[in-house]
Symmetry: C2
DNA sequence: CGAAGGTTTGATGGCGTTCAATAAGAGTGG
DNA sequence: CCACTCTTATTGAACGCCATCAAACCTTCG
């Protein structure tokens, strides 16, 4: 099952995201065995779906590069954006119970993904004890992310929501070893607005204000944070060690 | 490890909630083995905590009777209510990753709980294959509940939120075999308000309106639903089979 | 019984939505 | 490469929902 390597087809062993996918670390031989079951397809183009709501669940996915938006629609047809998944994030957990995807996942940019067939993954779990805990970590992260999202939607005004979103993205890139004060973000303002429970107009106005006050500039998929302190202050991130918590 | 039985100390085998705790069903001998590891303490009184944020995680909990509120505080000291747990619900999943509770759980009424020591539970998992899937179901439910909460907080006005909350509670009681149009609910309006991202005043006003329009009466912990159709309509639950979905 | 906390009701104001119209990008085909 | 179209972003004005503040009433519990 060993395959030819390419830019989009690097083994877990040589993947820079190993620490993100498996934070507590697996033994080298265990990573090799994981490699054997991982399926690496050609990258998704912008607008292509990784899966759609009601699809049968057969695998978990780890993002290698790009961005995925997880979304669904309410009974009345409004879109709900549940989250954005960056390199190193695991996708598909919502379907573990019903074996059927509850939401849809679409690429917002060229995105490459590692596929973990769930059957084989479960078998591996029996022989790699640590893998089960890794799984629990990923699941737990999913639950906590959901709670964070709810928290953001309750009693935080529009300024705070936008600031927290930008800061959160910055932290996530930092944890992956990228620059945290300047990064590319292929997410439409419209999608951000839906995620934050706001209208595009409101988000636009707030970003204009942040730009005028020289806190954050977000133009043409390029985000630049000029004043991290004030950004964190607006976001309501007071405790000095929150970045540590986020890393955990 | 077999114990004397009492009203608050019934084995899983004889527990009416078995279908809720283990929806897909376990074999009789497996339930017996579960029984052996379950710890049944004396009930919690109103106001007592099952666990608190930052407590070490050592067990999952299944509610047998009563109500538990899961909550935490923001950096700025505001309370966040993440959810209410009814008989048959599983609590403690948020701590699976970090082995440390992230939120606090307090009894809103006299509440009895089954304790599942996680170590022993994990061991059992190896010999009862179906148990692992039960676990995944519980986790998945936790994720989906969180998403439902977010969904409720986005672009739903106060009327819709309150209606959806009452309807949801009604459904949950119905799924447990209780009356769905008349039930006791030991939750303060204040806690409901925080959960819904509203103020107590707003919730009070809306309940007064629902009462005046003869849709729902909620006085002194007694909820009566007089017009389920209109309640569902306000809640934005249009599809006729949503009760089925909720059961799944 | 008295105190503390929860609920109800009313008046006022602010924040974010809504509607509308323009500007700016992105994608397509000539 | 430019013209054309479609989607997204920006900016302005006005309205409405819900928070806020305040005061009275009601429960609960020591």
């Amino acid at each position: 099952m060993k395959e030819v390597k390419s830019a989009f087809n690097v083994s877990c062993k040589n993947c820079g995201l190993q620490k993100v996918c498996f934070p507590t670390g697996l033994r080298r031989e265990d990573v090799d065995r994981l490699d054997d079951i991982v399926d690496r397809r050609s990258p998704l183009k912008k607008g292509q779906h990784l899966f759609e709501a009601s699809d049968k669940f057969s695998a978990l996915f780890a993002i290698r590069a790009g961005v995925i938006k997880l979304y669904s629609f309410t009974d009345s047809g409004e879109e709900i954006v549940h989250g954005f998944y960056l390199p190193g994030d695991v996708l598909g957990i919502d379907a573990l119970g019903s074996k059927q995807h509850q939401y849809s996942a679409v690429a917002l940019d060229t995105t490459s993904v590692c596929t973990l067939p769930f059957e084989k993954f479960t078998e591996l779990t029996e022989s790699i004890p640590n893998l089960n805990q890794q799984m629990l970590n990923a699941i737990s992260k999913e639950v906590l992310d959901g709670r964070m999202h709810s928290e953001l939607l309750i009693r935080r005004n529009a300024d705070q929501r936008v600031a927290q979103f930008v800061w959160n993205m910055s932290e996530r890139y930092r944890n992956r070893g990228y620059a945290s004060d300047e990064f590319r973000l292929s997410i439409l303002h419209r999608d951000v607005a839906v995620y934050l429970g706001l209208t595009p107009e409101t988000v636009s106005r707030i970003l204009a204000k942040f730009h005028a006050e020289n806190i954050v500039t977000w133009k043409k998929k390029e985000v630049m944070i000029h004043d991290m302190q004030r950004l964190m202050h607006i976001a309501g991130v007071h405790s000095s060690c929150d970045s540590c918590k986020a890393t955990a």
